[in-house]
Symmetry: C2
Subunit: 266 residues, 2 copies
């Protein structure tokens, strides 16, 4: 891999930055772009558009939710196979050489320099974009709510998946439990911490941005066959938006006022 | 307060960046500088050099530890009264209008714009400097160890403090407990989670940089009368360096190999 020009960085795309709502919809796997200098990583066009490269439908769903709830969208602009922004730099999942049934030739035997270049070009700028928006809203006392939006494939490693809507939490299960409760009325098979959970290292973004600041947070996983078309995305957004609004209200009612803060200066 | 020129940012000072050791000594309160455009905040020279403005002795101790253990030093370059980098932007402790017995006139009634300018000028650049070093070392599989270094005043709110060496942990108590055990042989009154603990919001840096990545971490608090001179700083560093080295070795032996990692791509 050639040395990367320092100007080639891929921050997240920030949509609806002036949103009056508190929810930030984060889509780490929004894109299946393979820009230079990374290129195709040796993958066929079919592989580049498959679920191993991104979460199909996730960005459409996130945009639908943001429109209905007047929230922000933060979207990755590079395929997760270049760097998976929902993984820390020392994770084998950050730049995988094999994904499900596919080898990723351009990720085999990456040098330290190549790995570091991707961390600096993709991971750091993505999270810096998200962080700047969170910190601005926190400073203005808007207490943002972090909602990561993902899709999963209906068949994985030759296994069919029956769950349709997964609700996943990190250290604080509060908002996830409230979403599960509000989602009970939906015509969807909803499950807590399925098809993945924090033990699968899928809550990295929540752990990095929400947990340290005590911000309400939840990860949503929707089966991709339900959001395979623009109509599917919008219909899912229309179902989930009121569920999220109701869940946040219930969560905040239960969690009550903030604990008293102590100012240490000695 | 005048609008801040965008070039006026205060990243942390990074010392010994090529260190071969794994410890990063973080000194959020290293400096009692009051640079423009903030200025003195209406404080007298005596107030500007008192413990409310910084942690006297902490940077000297951190440098001594870094020299003995070949570690990195990350040091704030602005008084904690301008912005306390060990506090999140929505904390009342971030830009205090009163500290111990002192009013801070320049922090009274800060506008949203002024608070946001300080977050962007001081808090974000400080943590970005620290983060870049951590991520680089993680990418190169060096698994850094985060050690924050603080001092506390012997008399606080008219009360004498008998503790001399405080060892404080965030979510993972492992390294702190190992430090306590190794410190038992020292001629120091050492206490766990004194004079402060995570409940006092003093582990923000650990929570932001170590806990999400599962990195070993601990906060050290030394009573400032013991490190009031350069000789005191060096003698304390000489006592604590072998304790930290022994504690890290014991901690890593107990925590064993990393948990297996799962690569989610579906």
């Amino acid at each position: 891999m050639p040395a990367m020009p320092s100007a080639s960085v891929w921050p997240a795309r920030l949509e609806n930055p002036e949103a009056s709502g508190r929810m930030i919809f984060v889509c780490e796997h929004a894109s299946n772009a393979f820009p230079m200098p990374f290129g195709s990583l040796g993958l066929s066009p079919a592989q580049q558009s498959a679920h191993i490269a991104w979460d199909p439908g996730a960005i459409g769903l996130a945009r639908g939710l943001a429109r209905l709830l007047d929230g922000v969208v933060i979207a990755g602009q590079v395929s997760r196979l270049v760097y998976d922004c929902n993984r820390p730099p020392d994770s084998p999942g950050a730049m995988v050489a094999r994904s499900e049934l596919h080898d990723i030739p351009g990720n085999a035997g990456l040098t330290d320099a190549a790995r570091l270049a991707r961390v600096r070009a993709v991971y750091e700028p993505f999270h810096a974009s998200l962080r700047a928006d969170i910190l601005r809203r926190m400073t203005l006392d808007q207490r943002p709510v972090i909602v990561t939006v993902h899709s999963f494939t209906p068949v994985y490693n030759h296994q069919n998946r029956t769950v349709q809507f997964g609700v996943i939490h990190d250290a604080d299960p509060g908002l996830a439990l409230a979403v599960m409760q509000a989602a009970a009325r939906l015509p969807l098979t909803a499950r807590l911490n399925e098809p993945y959970s924090a033990a699968d290292h899928v809550t990295h973004t929540l752990r990095l941005h929400a947990t340290p600041y005590g911000l309400p947070n939840v990860m949503l996983e929707v089966r991709s066959d339900l959001i395979a078309t623009s109509e599917g995305e919008q219909s899912m957004a229309a179902m989930l938006a009121p569920v999220l609004a109701e869940a946040l209200a219930a969560y905040e009612q239960h969690s009550g006022a903030d604990a008293p803060r102590i100012t240490k200066t000695g």
